[in-house]
């Protein structure tokens, strides 16, 4: 049944594409001759094509990293408390991380269906290894004497965790978030194969049109720019959140 659903979606996606190249109403000579990059096409199609794809892409990534972070934090805290959980968690998340995106999306379509849930489950599963490993490393890196001091001043386990261990682990956690965000933004371009969203959609459209170079470069470039911008933003967040890491230098 889901097999049928899969082919239905594929045909829906196929039907959504214009058979005639989508040059837009106003075809400049640049577009007609399929030059490398036509700025006029980009400005005319920003609203109808590129922006919705970009917005969808951001949404896919944000939701995936958000959910992935909550799950990873829980897993890491559990493994921090009970060391025996680390190994199985690492093995499972490594297997999930290793499965190529194209395959994982399709593997999820069978039980879940070709929808946003399959897409998000796959994207979330790719964040787990990165975030789990970084959060755990960060927590383990807290010096024993600092913990002892916290205990000595009468903090409970929970208080020590919230007031001492998590803040000190923050640089490692944000470093993990950076990697996860960038990785997920890159992987979200494949989502279009099972669910009609993200910057993969215009790339797919352009590939079916010859390929139409301007759209390929615009959509592909947007995906790369988005990843780099997100990375830079997270660096900024890290600096704001951990002023003590820079105070040392002077």
């Amino acid at each position: 049944m889901a097999a049928a659903a899969g082919s239905i979606v594929a045909s829906v996606v196929a039907a959504g594409e214009p058979v005639i190249p989508n040059y837009g109403a106003q075809s400049s000579s640049c577009v007609v001759h399929n030059h490398l990059f036509c700025t006029d096409w980009v400005s005319h199609n920003w609203g109808p094509v590129l922006w919705p794809a970009l917005r969808g892409h951001i949404l896919l990534a944000l939701v995936a990293v958000g959910i992935g972070f909550v799950i990873s934090l829980a897993l890491a805290l559990a493994a921090y408390r009970y060391g025996c959980l680390e190994r199985p968690t690492t093995v499972i998340t490594t297997i999930l991380y290793t499965i190529p995106s194209l395959a994982l999306f399709e593997l999820l379509v069978a039980p879940v269906g070709p929808n946003v849930y399959s897409a998000e489950i796959a994207l979330v599963s790719y964040t787990l290894l990165i975030l789990f490993r970084n959060i755990l490393t960060g927590l383990r890196g807290v010096p024993a004497e600092v913990l002892e001091a916290a205990e000595g001043m009468g903090m409970s386990r929970r208080q020590a965790l919230v007031r001492v261990e998590l803040p000190l682990a923050l640089p490692a956690i944000v470093a993990g978030l950076r990697i996860a965000v960038v990785t997920i933004i890159a992987l979200a371009t494949i989502v279009y194969t099972i669910y009609n969203a993200g910057l993969g959609v215009p790339i797919h459209t352009a590939l079916g049109e010859g390929p139409f170079k301007t759209e390929l470069i615009a959509a592909g470039g947007l995906a790369i720019l988005l990843a780099l911008t997100a990375d830079a933003l997270l660096v900024l967040v890290q600096r704001l959140l951990t002023p003590w890491t820079r105070a040392r230098a002077t």
């Binding site: 049944m1 889901a2 097999a3 049928a4 899969g6 082919s7 594929a10 490398l36 490594t94 297997i95 991380y97 290793t98 499965i99 190529p100 995106s101 194209l102 395959a103 994982l104 999306f105 399709e106 593997l107 379509v109 069978a110 039980p111 950076r178 990697i179 960038v182 990785t183 933004i185 890159a186 992987l187 979200a188 371009t189 494949i190 194969t193 910057l199 993969g200 790339i203 797919h204 352009a206 590939l207 390929p211 170079k213 390929l216 470069i217 959509a219 592909g220 470039g221 995906a223 790369i224 990843a227 780099l228 990375d231």
Partner: protein, 239 residues
């Protein structure tokens, strides 16, 4: 779970579909995937390992080496393939180029971090005993950096296998991705079967590389690793 049964039937028939003769077998496509991926990985290793090791050896370029890794991760495989397609036209060369672009950064970053992280006292001792720069790299830094170095190559290998299948989406034919990209001919059972094969192939590559890494890691290092995770040695056992 009917789809999975169908998918495994597809795998059992090695990719043959009733009424559609002349399709390539799954074995053939798997080997092609491996071939394309292996060429890309090999070129990347040849470029990236010496570069990363050398940067680590001279302890320079940490900013470049580390940010290269971040940028590498930021490049979506499909976008790289798409842009390569737009500029150069799609073919094996462009696919390999995309594989190298994606695989070099993690290898450089990890090789750099591995060699740069080798205990400076060991390098000092080696230098003090009269080793040349090359001897220090070969006898001290490389054996001690095997772990991170291989972690980078493994990450790259996963990237490369994954990207080789994605190349089919961009219209490059000659990998297991062809089946996934062509649901019209293969139906969903074929797509799912190919997806299972791709996952198995990637896991097998990862497994083999993990084994190779274990063989290459010096025994003394594994023991040291063990000790580090255990309680600190209070030097009680002297003589």
């Amino acid at each position: 779970m009917h789809e999975f049964l169908e998918a495994f039937r597809f795998i059992a028939h090695n990719g043959a579909i009733a009424g559609a003769p002349g399709l390539p077998t799954l074995t053939h496509l798997a080997l092609e995937t491996l071939r394309v991926a292996a060429i890309g990985l090999a070129i990347s290793v040849v470029i990236a390992v010496p570069l990363g090791v050398w940067l680590g050896h001279i302890h320079r370029g940490s900013f470049a080496a580390i940010n290269l890794g971040n940028i590498g991760r930021a490049l979506p495989s499909l976008a790289v393939l798409a842009i390569g397609d737009a500029i150069l036209g799609l073919g094996l060369t462009v696919v390999e180029l995309a594989l190298v672009v994606l695989a070099v950064p993690p290898i450089v970053t990890n090789a750099y971090l591995g060699v740069d992280g080798v205990d400076r006292d060991l390098v000092d001792a080696a230098r003090g005993m009269g080793m040349s720069g090359f001897e220090i790299i070969r006898r001290v830094e490389l054996p001690l950096a095997v772990g991170p170095l291989f972690a980078g190559i493994r990450t790259a290998a996963v990237f490369v296998v994954s990207t080789t299948t994605i190349a089919s989406l961009a219209g490059f034919s000659g990998s297991l991705g062809d089946v996934i990209a062509n649901e019209t001919s293969y139906h969903f059972s074929g797509v799912l079967g190919a997806a299972i094969c791709v996952a198995a192939l990637a896991l097998a590559v990862e497994g083999v590389l993990t084994l190779v890494q274990r063989v290459l890691t010096p025994r003394g290092l594994r023991l040291a690793e063990h000790e580090r995770s255990g309680p600190l040695d209070p030097e009680a056992a002297i003589a």
